[in-house]
C-alpha cells in the first residue's frame, strides 16, 4: 500500500538511489514541489507542506551492510524500526531507536530527529548516525560521514541531516551505531521519580500520570542491586505510549522536568534526566502557556502529531519562536535544494 500525502496529486516511490536522483533532477528542472514520506508516522510534525507530489521511500528497503562485530548497520531509508529489530535481535544487538513505532522508517526517524526513550544512555539519534546519503533537491547523491564509529573527516553531514525534515533533500540511506544487548533488564516501579537519583546513569526514568518507572539494564548483578530502589515489574521493558494522535512535546533543561510535570493536567510521558515531557493534547489553551514557559527557560514546545488532516491549518504554530540565524539556515538549505522543492516551509520560520 502506498501512502499518498494529503493534498498531493501524484505519488512516486523510486526503487533505487539512482532512480531517486533521476526523479529529483526531473522535478527540480520542472520546479515541482514534493513532500517526502516514509512510514507516515511523523507527517504531523512541523509546518504543513503544500506540495505537488509525494515521494515515498518505501521501496528503498534494502539492508545494505550489517557488521555485527563492528556494531554498525547500514540500511536504506525505507527500512522500518520493526525490520531493524527483527534483524538485530538474533545477534543480541540494538540500534536503540524509538521503541514504540514499529512501522516508522529509519529515514523518517532520522529526518525528524526522533530519539526514543533510551537516549540518556545512548545519546540522541543524532549522535548515532555515522553516515548518511541524501539525494539533494537538484538530484545530486551526496554522502557524508562514514561507516566507522569515530570519524572527523569533513563537515558533519549526518548531524546536519538528522532532524532536517528533508531540508537537505531525501535521506536515502544511513549507517547506524549499534550496542550489544545487556545480560539483564528490569522495569522498576518507583514511588517517586526522584528515587532514581541515587542510581548512576539509569537507562531511562519515565513518569506518567499513572506513576514512575526506572528502566535498568546491564550485568545481572548490577540490575539486581539497582532494582532495590523500587518494585520490579518486569524483567523486560514495557514502554508507555499515547493512544491517539494529537500530541506535543515540552523540551526543557533536564532539571526542570518536575516543574513541567507540575504544570500539567493532561496525560503525559515525562523523560526525567532528558528534559522531554510529551503531552496528549492539542488544546491551545494548554499549549500556549506551556510554550511561553518552555521558551522562557531556553527550551521549546513542539507539536509532534495532529489528529486532523496534516495539510489542514494547525490550531497552534507547530514550532513556536524560530531559532536564530534564519538567513544562514536558508543559505545552507539552498546549497542542497536550490529551488526548495523538498518539504518546502516545513522547518521553523516556514523555511
Amino acid at each position: 500500500m502506498s501512502l499518498l500525502a494529503p493534498g498531493t496529486t501524484a505519488h512516486h516511490a523510486p526503487g533505487s538511489v539512482d532512480e531517486m536522483a533521476e526523479l529529483y533532477r526531473r522535478l527540480d528542472a520542472d520546479g515541482t514541489t514534493t513532500v517526502v514520506i516514509g512510514g507516515g508516522n511523523h507527517l504531523g510534525v512541523g509546518n504543513p507542506v503544500l506540495a505537488d507530489v509525494s515521494v515515498a521511500t518505501e521501496a528503498l528497503d534494502a539492508i545494505i551492510d550489517y557488521q555485527p562485530d563492528d556494531l554498525t548497520l547500514t540500511v536504506e531509508a525505507g527500512v522500518t524500526m520493526g525490520a531493524i529489530d527483527e534483524l538485530l535481535d538474533p545477534h543480541r544487538q540494538t540500534a536503540a531507536l524509538p521503541e514504540t513505532e514499529p512501522t516508522a522508517t529509519i529515514g523518517g526517524v532520522v529526518a525528524a530527529g526522533i530519539s526514543g526513550y533510551r537516549r540518556s544512555r545512548f545519546g540522541p539519534t543524532r549522535d548515532r548516525v555515522l553516515e548518511v546519503t541524501v539525494v539533494t533537491g537538484d538530484g545530486r547523491v551526496v554522502t557524508g560521514g562514514a561507516r566507522v564509529v569515530k570519524n572527523v573527516s569533513g563537515y558533519d553531514l549526518p548531524r546536519l541531516a538528522t532532524g532536517s525534515f528533508g531540508a537537505l533533500g531525501v535521506i536515502v540511506s544511513v549507517c547506524l551505531k549499534l550496542w550489544p544487548e545487556p545480560e539483564s533488564r528490569a522495569t522498576v516501579r518507583l514511588d517517586d521519580p526522584a528515587d532514581a537519583d541515587s542510581l548512576y546513569r539509569p537507562l531511562a526514568v519515565l513518569e506518567t500520570e499513572e506513576g514512575a518507572w526506572a528502566y535498568l539494564q546491564g550485568p545481572a548483578s548490577e540490575v539486581a542491586s539497582s532494582a532495590s530502589i523500587g518494585i520490579v515489574q518486569s524483567d523486560g521493558f514495557t514502554w508507555p505510549t499515547f493512544d491517539a494522535p494529537g500530541t506535543a512535546e515540552m523540551r526543557v533543561p533536564p532539571a526542570l522536568v518536575p516543574d513541567a510535570v507540575q504544570r500539567l493536567n493532561v496525560p503525559f510521558i515525562a523523560q526525567h534526566g532528558v528534559g522531554i515531557v510529551a503531552m496528549a493534547t492539542e488544546d491551545p489553551d494548554v499549549l500556549e502557556p506551556a510554550r511561553s514557559w518552555c521558551e522562557s527557560v531556553g527550551g521549546s514546545l513542539v507539536v509532534t502529531s495532529r489528529s486532523g488532516p496534516v495539510d489542514a491549518a494547525p490550531s497552534i504554530d507547530p514550532w513556536g519562536t524560530p531559532p536564530p540565524a534564519q538567513s544562514l539556515q536558508r543559505r545552507l538549505i539552498a546549497a542542497f535544494d536550490p529551488r526548495r522543492i523538498v518539504n518546502r516551509g516545513r522547518l521553523p520560520g516556514g523555511i
Binding site: V148, Y155, P180, S226, P253, S300, L332
Partner: protein, 474 residues
C-alpha cells in the same frame, strides 16, 4: 590605517603581537607543518572577536583561530599571512549548573581545568584527548576531539549543547541550547569539528558527565600486537563496551617507561589498557569478562590497577606517549585514521609493512576500542628527503585504511595535513556539497582558508543534471 593599527585600536598594544619572533612562534602547532603569521591577536571578549572579524574583512585578510596549538593536523597553522586569533585568554568558566549538568565556558579554558573545576559537583567533561592537560575547549570544539574515553562517551560533539559563534560580518549568534532537540537545523553539530573554517566559537555550553562510582583499569600484556588487537574485538563481541580500550606497542612502551618509570612491562610486544566504569557490580562483572577474553586471546599477564594512584599513572603513561617519543628521534609524524574494528589486525599488520618498506621506525599507541589507529613514525627532518619519505608512507597508510572502509581522520581533523587526501574518501558530489556548506557560512573565504577542503572542491560547473563520471576526483 594599517591592519595592525586597526587591531591595536580594538585590543590595545599589549594584545596585538606583530614582532617577527611572535609570528614565528605562532607558526606551528604540535604537528609537522610550519607557516608564519602576519599578526597575532589575543581577544578577551566576544565583542572584541566580532570587531577583529570586521577589521580583517575590511583589510581582506583571513583569520586563523587558535587554542593551545596542540593539534596535529595543522589546523591552527597559518597558510597565507593570516591574522592568528588566539582564544587562550577567553578562559572563564561561568554558570556551572550541577542540576542540569552543564556549564558555559570560554574557548580558552583548558580541558583538564574544566574537569577539575566541576569535580566538586562530582562531574567532569568526558572528552579527554591525550593533550587534555594543555588543550583548550575551543580547540576540542574545532576538531571535535576524542580521547580514550570517547569509546563509551562519544567525541566532543556529543558533549557540546550550544555554541556562541562569531560569523562572517561579525554577526554573533548562539546555536543549540540547554534543552534537548533544539528546533531548526543543527548548526551546532556542523560547527563542532569545522576546524575554525566556518566561524569563531567564543563560548561553549558543555554537557558534564557524572563521575562513575567505580572504575577499574586493567593492564594486559601480550606477546604479539595481533593477539592484543584480537582481544579488543573479542571484548566488544562479548557484549562489553568498556569506558576505554587502548593499545600500545613495545617501542612506545619503552619510550614512555624510560621517562615515567611507571613499571610498564617493556618485554611485552603490546599492552592493552582496558577501563570499565559504572556501578560496582557492573564494573566487577565487566572486568571479569575482559580478564577472561584477554587471557583466552593469549595475554601473558593481566593486572588490575590497585588504587587511584596506580590508575592515574597508567593513564599518564598512555597520555604522554607522543611526547615521550621525542627522546628517540628529533621529529615524529603521528597519524590518525579509523578502520572498522574488525579490520584492525590486518590494518596494523599492513601499517608495519609500509613502515618497513620506507625504512622507517614505526610505533603505535591508539584507541583500539573504536578502531582509531595512531601509527607514529620517527625521523630526523634535518636529513634530506626524510620528511618526504615519511609523508609518502603516511599517505600510503591512509590509502590502505580507506580501502578497508576506514576514514582519513578519527579525531585529529583534516586541517592542512589531509586536505589533499579528501578525494580518497569523498566523491565529487560529496566534496562539492562540503564546499557549499563552507560557502553558505563564509562566502568571503575569511575563516581558516586552505584547510579541510582541497583546492577546487567546489565544482561550479557541476551541471545540475549531468552526473559526474566515477573517479573524477580520485
Amino acid at each position: 590605517m594599517s591592519l595592525v593599527s586597526d587591531l591595536i585600536a580594538v585590543l590595545g598594544r599589549d594584545r596585538v603581537l606583530d614582532d617577527r619572533l611572535d609570528s614565528w612562534t605562532y607558526g606551528k602547532d604540535a604537528g609537522v607543518f610550519r607557516g608564519e603569521a602576519d599578526v597575532v591577536v589575543l581577544p578577551e571578549s566576544t565583542e572584541e572577536v566580532a570587531e577583529i572579524v570586521r577589521v580583517a574583512e575590511r583589510h581582506s585578510t583571513s583569520i586563523v583561530p587558535r587554542g593551545a596549538g596542540t593539534g596535529l593536523a595543522g589546523g591552527a597553522v597559518p597558510v597565507d599571512r593570516n591574522v592568528i586569533v588566539s582564544m587562550i585568554r577567553m578562559n572563564e568558566i561561568t554558570d556551572v549548573d550541577p542540576e542540569n549538568r552543564t556549564a558555559w565556558v570560554g574557548p580558552g579554558v583548558v580541558n583538564l581545568d574544566l574537569s577539575r573545576h566541576t569535580e566538586v559537583h562530582g562531574l567532569h567533561f568526558a572528552p579527554d584527548p591525550s593533550s587534555q592537560s594543555a588543550c583548550t575547549i575551543g580547540g576540542n570544539v574545532g576538531n571535535n576531539s576524542g580521547g580514550p574515553h570517547c569509546l563509551a562517551e562519544g567525541t566532543t560533539v556529543n558533549h557540546v549543547l550550544a555554541v556562541e559563534v562569531v560569523l562572517a560580518g561579525g554577526e554573533v549568534v548562539t546555536v543549540g541550547g540547554g534543552a534537548p532537540d533544539p528546533i531548526g537545523l543543527d548548526l551546532r553539530g556542523i560547527l563542532v569539528g569545522s576546524e575554525g573554517t566556518l566561524g569563531i566559537v567564543t563560548k561553549v555550553l558543555v554537557k558534564l558527565t557524572p563521575n562513575a562510582p567505580d572504575v577499574r583499569t586493567l593492564l594486559c600484556a601480550f606477546d604479539s600486537v595481533e593477539d592484543a588487537a584480537r582481544a579488543v574485538s573479542g571484548i566488544i563481541a562479548a557484549g562489553v563496551v568498556p569506558a576505554a580500550l587502548e593499545l600500545m606497542d613495545q617501542r612506545m612502551t619503552e619510550a614512555v617507561e624510560n621517562w615515567l618509570k611507571a613499571g610498564l612491562p617493556t618485554d611485552a610486544a603490546a599492552i592493552l589498557l582496558a577501563e570499565v566504569s559504572g556501578g560496582t557490580a557492573a564494573v566487577k562483572a565487566e572486568a571479569a569478562v575482559i580478564r577472561e577474553v584477554a587471557t583466552s586471546s593469549g595475554a601473558s599477564s593481566v593486572s588490575l590497577a590497585a588504587d587511584e594512584a596506580e590508575r592515574q599513572i597508567l593513564w599518564k603513561a598512555r597520555k604522554s606517549a607522543f611526547g615521550a617519543v621525542a627522546q628517540t628521534a628529533p621529529d615524529y609524524y603521528l597519524h590518525d585514521t579509523t578502520v572498522p574494528r574488525t579490520r584492525l589486525v590486518e590494518a596494523m599488520t599492513e601499517a608495519y609493512a609500509i613502515g618497513d618498506k620506507y625504512d622507517l621506525v614505526m610505533m603505535n599507541v591508539f584507541h583500539a576500542g573504536d578502531g582509531n589507529l595512531h601509527p607514529l613514525m620517527t625521523f630526523d627532518a634535518s636529513q634530506p628527503g626524510s620528511f618526504e619519505r615519511v609523508r609518502a608512507a603516511a599517505d600510503e597508510i591512509v590509502e590502505m585504511c580507506v580501502s578497508k572502509g576506514g576514514v582519513l581522520s578519527g579525531e585529529h581533523g583534516i586541517g592542512k595535513e589531509k586536505r589533499d587526501l579528501m578525494g580518497l574518501m569523498f566523491d565529487a558530489p560529496a566534496l562539492d556539497a562540503q564546499a557549499r556548506i563552507k560557502e553558505a557560512f563564509d562566502p568571503g573565504g575569511l575563516f581558516n582558508p586552505h584547510k579541510i577542503l582541497p583546492q577546487g572542491s567546489r565544482c561550479f560547473d557541476f551541471g545540475r543534471t549531468v552526473p559526474v563520471p566515477d573517479g573524477a576526483w580520485i
